[in-house]
Assembly symmetry: C2
DNA sequence: GGAACGGGTTTGAACGTTCCAACAAATGCG
DNA sequence: CGCATTTGTTGGAACGTTCAAACCCGTTCC
């Protein structure tokens, strides 16, 4: 073993053997220091740790992956066309997943979908041994991925409900319905008379969820017969959304408010209010969804999904036994001037702990 | 696919030795089939390939990484707070980087910044052996990362100019200036009289770049004395942006147009036009930057950065020798009704190849 | 006082692949 | 025809780590 004679040139990274030699112990003891410190005698422990620090040794994760036969990494499929789909919620989710990863001793590997077959990208990625499993996002009814992963015994967790498999509990989602419900309560408390809903046509699970939250919110406030609602096909067609919001506001009358299923729809509502010569906040209340930069720029109150918490929950589920329950997180309301009736009440902070006000 | 049909118990994945045994050759020959097919006799090649297909063998990348002493993966630092900074350009860049990765035989690993020290996250990530280098984004003057990576001989490429190291050519960026310049030309051609600029205060490299593009565009059109410009501090404060746009439009007079340094500023310009009772397109032209969903929703013409191409270029630079030149990509203009003076000319497609019209 | 125990440490082997040197057979050359 | 060269293939070793079992030695137990 004359390999490490040249002490001066640290051209190559320090390995566990280098540390072992320096601390006058065997490789395995160094390994134990790192992985089972309780099994090592205190003096030895200290000596080895000193050498680790001195040599700046960091374990070679690739070698660990090979020997341990697990990657401690999970794959996340990015969607190249998803630009307009779920806003940028999924981008933020990926970021938060990455941020939370080290805390769970893991990593995130992104990969692109196979254009041919949905599951093929997953099969390939898994076969490389670079990941132990996957974090799914953008789950939808008819999604073949959960079924396939279950069949092949691949660990995974979904961000979004897994609609087709009621027995599968490995998912986190944000309870949009309760978010809207709280928004309605907030608008009632703020003093708006009637509270309408601007959403998407019935049929989409997410959209229906939010609409039901609106109905529940009205029921909470003792409104037995629902206020008006309008539905828009496209999130992008702002002109139609604006027109729908105009009709909605006309029917609701002055002093009313509109809860929207997205910030883009809220932008339509804001334009409708302007067109009708109504002041945003004092004359008409507007609440959006997702708390995007648009809502921030327009100073529109918006329902914010707790993405960081969702990412944490995802890791917890991934790394814990299958017995977990699904988790529905409660979104928070970022209150801005669009839901403030009077200038004086702008300073009044709601006491509901679920509602936070943005600090400027 | 009878890939792993129950010939034997396929509980464990097929390895290169399994293939070798089945094809009655040595491991090394199988390895050669995969890596240097030219060195293998045709009959053998065919036989081994058949077995590879039959057994559904995929090389274990982790083992390759260890033996080859390279990961064929690059790290990308995600920014948890960057939500509002560069729009969602960086999110899209990460996606496109991931999409292009397999074409270059590589992968992308995301990692979070170390809160303490900027380069520490890079040091750590590199030490694990999980990546060979990095793709930097969001470079700014004074950025310590390029210097450190150079000193430690770590391969990297930057998306965004590397300001402090003029001799470093390992970067791709989008030429915002020429994008604005083309936008000005487009507006001139569309028949707008005076063309203003709504941007950020002087001092930011990106903002100055775009403003200079505006000036260059005016010069192209033979305007020796520049039209009016306004600068806004914050991209988010839409009310101030709107007010600035109102002043700008008032000074420019009817039939003029405004080029904006961001889509959010363009939103301010759109509001200003509405407030002034001017029709967007016929009465006043507006062009935004980044072609976000806001621009799409408002039907605002916007300058789109060629992110997919930037990602491709980044990979090319990473995997080629250091001798490459830096690359400045030319953005495209997505033309919408906000820069169309007359209804008839809406159908007219500009002949400039750099300008594309969105197909609906 | 020998056997059983147990904490602490070491050694051999393995994870799945590629590098490297060696080798056998076929080919070229003088 | 003998020898050098090429072509195709092979086996040993190594990448850096952890698993599994063995080992050493001081205690405890009957």
């Amino acid at each position: 073993m004359a390999e490490g004679s040249r002490v001066t040139v640290p051209s190559t990274r320090a390995t566990i053997v280098d540390v072992a030699r320096a601390a006058r112990v065997s490789r395995q003891t160094v390994s134990n220091v790192l992985n089972r410190p309780d099994k090592v005698a205190p003096p030895t422990l200290e000596r080895v740790r000193a050498e680790i620090a001195r040599l700046g040794f960091t374990p070679h994760v690739t070698a660990q992956q090979l020997r341990r036969r697990k990657a401690a990494a999970f794959g996340f499929e990015v969607n190249p066309s998803g630009h307009a789909k779920m806003g940028h919620i999924l981008d933020e989710f990926l970021v938060q997943l990455t941020v939370a990863a080290p805390g769970h001793g893991s990593h995130v590997m992104t990969f692109a979908p196979d254009p041919e077959d949905v599951v093929e990208g997953y099969r390939q990625t898994l076969a490389t041994g670079l990941v132990d499993g996957f974090v799914l996002a953008d789950t939808r009814p008819g999604d073949p991925r959960p079924q396939w992963l279950l069949e092949h015994d691949v660990p995974f967790v979904a961000f979004g409900r897994v609609w087709d498999l009621p027995d599968l509990h490995q998912w986190v989602d944000v309870d949009g319905g309760i978010g809207v419900r709280h928004a309605v309560a907030h608008l009632v408390e703020a003093g708006y008379d009637r509270i309408g809903f601007l959403g998407w046509p019935a049929g989409s699970p997410v959209g229906d969820d939010r609409r039901n939250g609106w109905l529940a919110g009205l029921a909470d406030a003792g409104r037995t017969d629902p206020d008006e609602a309008e539905a828009e096909e496209s999130v992008q067609d702002l002109d139609q959304a604006t027109a729908a919001a105009e009709r909605l506001l006309a029917r609701l009358g002055p002093g009313s408010a509109v809860v929207c299923a997205s910030d883009m729809l809220a932008l339509g509502a804001v334009r409708a209010a302007r067109n009708a010569g109504l002041a945003l906040g004092p004359d008409v209340g507007v609440v959006g969804f997702d708390d995007t930069d648009v809502a921030e720029a327009l100073s529109v109150t918006s329902i914010r999904q707790p993405i960081a918490e969702a990412a944490q929950t995802a890791w917890r589920m991934l790394l814990s036994p299958r017995s977990t329950e699904p988790v529905l997180l409660v979104p928070e309301l970022t209150v801005r001037s669009s839901s403030t009736r009077t200038p004086s009440s702008a300073a009044t902070r709601p006491h509901d702990t679920l509602i936070t006000e943005e600090q400027q």
